[in-house]
Amino acid sequence: MRTVTDSHRQDSWDIEGAGTLAVDPKELREPLVEGKPDLRDVTETVSGVVESKPTRLWYATVTLTGGLAAWGILTIIYTTMTGIGVWGNNQPVGWAWDITNFVFWIGIGHAGTLISAILFLFRQKWRTAINRAAEAMTIFAVICALIFPVIHTGRPWVAVYWLLPLPNQMEMWVNFRSPLLWDVFAVSTYFAVSLMFWFVGLVPDFATLRNRAKNRIVKAVWTFVSLGWTGANRHWHRYEKAYLILAGISTPLVLSVHTIVSFDFAVSVLPGWHTTIFPPYFVAGAIFSGFGMVLTLMILARKLLNLEQFITVKHIENMNKVLMATGLMVGYAYGIEFFIAWYSGNPFERFAFINRAFGPYSWAYWTMVTCNVFIPQLFWFRKIRRNLAITWVISIFVNIGMWFERFVIIATSLHRDFLPSSWGYFIPTWVDVSIFAGTVGLFLTMFLLFAKYIPVLAISEVKGILPGAQPSHSHH
């Protein structure tokens, strides 16, 4: 039997007896870190980003995104003072951009949870370089998402009273049978757990920054958030246990949040909404859109922050594979839904789908199919999976496609329901567009602040995947 002489599992694969048939061992298992950085390089590179002065480009971008966010806030204030009538929503399309944006943003967050929870449990070591940023995106995306249902209540200052089951003298309760209420529970749990997970992961890195800080005020801040971390053996032991437990708790959240979101539609009897594949289909779509956003931002971040060594082409390629797999799942759902709409023999069901593809919103439907199903097929080619420029462009298409998916589901099913006399066509107003653009600005602003002031890579985790960091297996 063949013997293995390599000293390390991660960075090399010795293929004896392969002779002229040998393949590049890199193709079988590529290293997760390029070059030969030592532990210090990792600390220096990542802490360097936090400790250096922001560049002009950073200021310029933050001004732009912050301005967009401010415009969004102004239009939210305008909406609140005037009424929801300033939006394009009206009978029969009572849910439109607001819920589309809500589902869109919630979906964006799912890459973070998948990476931090499921990929961790599946021992996918490549997650370490991207988990921190993806988890941050989760938190920011959920914040953006929550804005929409709250402002859609019209009077957000009493939203707490409507959204939460608060005991009261009139014994008026929220409707426990409504998936909209479960959304409140699901999304708030999701937010809380994601935040906790993110913070726990950050503690050792905060301690690193604390130890390096020169300025007393800065040092005080890092001291406060690093919770007395000393890097003692006992600390690491507990940290790893806590991390595993949080990963376990987060795993069901990957499924539950978007399952509940899909219930918002699927528990109804509306054709195009009521279909049993919705829960797993929404989850797959959420992960798909989340990875799209992670790619969009991380391809830029790795370049601007000089992290190419740690976020390698292999990371990008792996994410592209996830994108392709989840994109195909979404495509599968589109196909099966269409088939069953015909197979059911239900004329309303059939009409909903034909109307989607060939009715007034066909432009939106085909945008969705093109962006989500056709374009990601380019990733079957290894060259394209490893081409950063093309990947970036495709990731933008995925973001667009997934926004349209939610819009198509929501608008097409509502605008022509059972009664032709009440058919309509939804057109967004400038306020709809402004508020959505505002959340994009808010999301990017938060991400930029994060990328500048918080370690974008999990320093300790990246050290764990450096060559030589793991105990090598015994020689035979």
């Binding site: 039997m1 079988l28 699927a266 069953i340």
Partner: protein, 394 residues
């Protein structure tokens, strides 16, 4: 007792397992065929149940092979040959499928011309639900699956001979495309063979549900099989507690996923409460069927879920064996629950033919599986990931 050469991993003695399985298989098939003369209707229903039970397991094994290749998994390399050999029983399942073609009239009432003539919905569906197209589709499914299984086995075995690691990359590519093909063929097979038993009913998630049960059970079969080999002291150093632990985790994950898919389907139909959808679940609740439904919830989900939650229990081979047996039995209950309510108006009827058909088809499948498995090396000895797989520690 079977025996293996510890250097080359080739079988020196195949033992009696193959003969025993073949004997049981032939006996089972003969008894079931005798049953066909007493009660044709029950025969076909039982045969379909047994066929669907084994076909979903074998297809689950095919999926297992492709999933491991496509994801570049390391831990599972030592176990892959068994799953590969399992997928090579597909031609036999094609043979087992053929008798069903003679029972289409007994099984599927969309084949009854007089019923279709008076049923608007069945008329609508007739471009899809008609005998000719049904057979063509089945041929396409089997061609795809047998082709995939054949290709995956051929390349994997070629690596045993030429030691070429490049096969691993080819297999990865083949599996990525194969998974896509697999998803669609299995879904439509589930629609055709199981969902169309109740031709008025439809559910978009049905294919995923059938797939999940089969994939889960195929891993339960692998757990039992490697423990069986362990009893003969074969691969006991290669397939370690850590591999069982990982199987335990996979069983846990997919038990939960099965419950998630099943619950999603039930829940959405219950909530919307449309008669054309709820009738399917009503048939699985009334006339005593609720016992079977509850059995599934507890046996297929609650018990394995609670057991596999614990670290130590996943590493306890006896516990894992119990759970594997439970899941296999429950998969049968699941298929029985999918198929039989259509055929039993007045309650749950478990015929002796169910037992003989499952043993019959199963015996033949296991015989061929054992023949295929022992004909080659028990592990892919020149897979570049093999060393890491053997050394795998959780």
């Amino acid at each position: 007792m079977a025996a293996i050469d510890s250097q080359t991993y080739t079988f020196t003695d195949r033992g009696r397992f193959g003969i025993a399985a073949l004997g049981a298989g032939v006996l089972g098939v003969v008894l079931t065929v005798i049953g066909a003369f007493t009660d044709t209707h029950t025969f076909f229903a039982s045969w379909l149940t047994a066929f669907a039970f084994w076909a979903t397991i074998v297809l689950g094994a095919l999926f297992f092979v492709m999933l491991q290749h496509a994801t570049g998994a390391v831990w599972s390399v030592v176990t892959r040959r068994a799953a590969e050999a399992m997928s090579m029983t597909l031609p036999l399942l094609l043979l087992c499928f053929i008798p069903l073609l003679f029972g289409l009239h007994d099984l599927f009432h969309w084949t009854h011309a007089e019923e279709v003539a008076t049923d608007h919905l069945l008329q609508w569906k007739s471009p899809y639900l008609n005998t000719t197209f049904f057979i063509i589709r089945a041929a396409v499914y089997f061609a795809a699956w047998i082709g995939l299984a054949w290709g995956l086995n051929r390349l994997s075995l070629a690596q045993d001979r030429d030691q070429n690691p490049a096969h691993t990359l080819t297999l990865r590519k083949l599996s990525a495309g194969g998974l896509f093909l697999f998803a669609f063929t299995l879904t439509f097979a589930a629609f055709d063979w199981l969902m169309s038993l109740e031709p008025h009913w439809y559910s978009t998630i049905f294919g995923v549900y059938v797939f999940t049960g089969g994939f889960l059970t195929s891993m339960a079969v692998l757990v039992l099989f490697f423990q069986f080999l362990r009893g003969a002291n074969i691969l006991s150093d290669e397939v370690t507690t850590d591999h069982y632990h990982d199987f335990g985790r996979m069983l846990f994950a997919f038990t939960v996923f099965w419950a998630y898919i099943g619950a999603s389907q039930y829940y959405l139909i219950w909530y919307a409460n449309l008669p054309e959808e709820t009738m399917w679940y009503l048939a699985r609740w009334e006339h005593g069927w609720y016992v079977v439904s509850l059995l599934l919830i507890f046996g297929h989900f609650v018990i394995p879920f609670v057991t596999l939650l614990f670290f130590r229990l996943k590493r306890n081979l006896t516990v894992l064996r119990f759970i594997a047996v439970l899941l296999i039995v429950m998969h049968f209950v699941d298929i029985f629950w999918l198929v039989m309510p259509t055929f039993s108006d007045g309650g749950v009827h478990f015929s002796w033919m169910h037992l003989t058909a499952v043993i019959g088809i199963g015996g033949l499948v296991l015989w061929l599986f054992w023949t295929r498995y022992t004909a080659n090396r028990a592990i892919p000895v020149y897979d570049p990931k093999l060393e890491d797989s053997i050394a795998h520690r959780v």
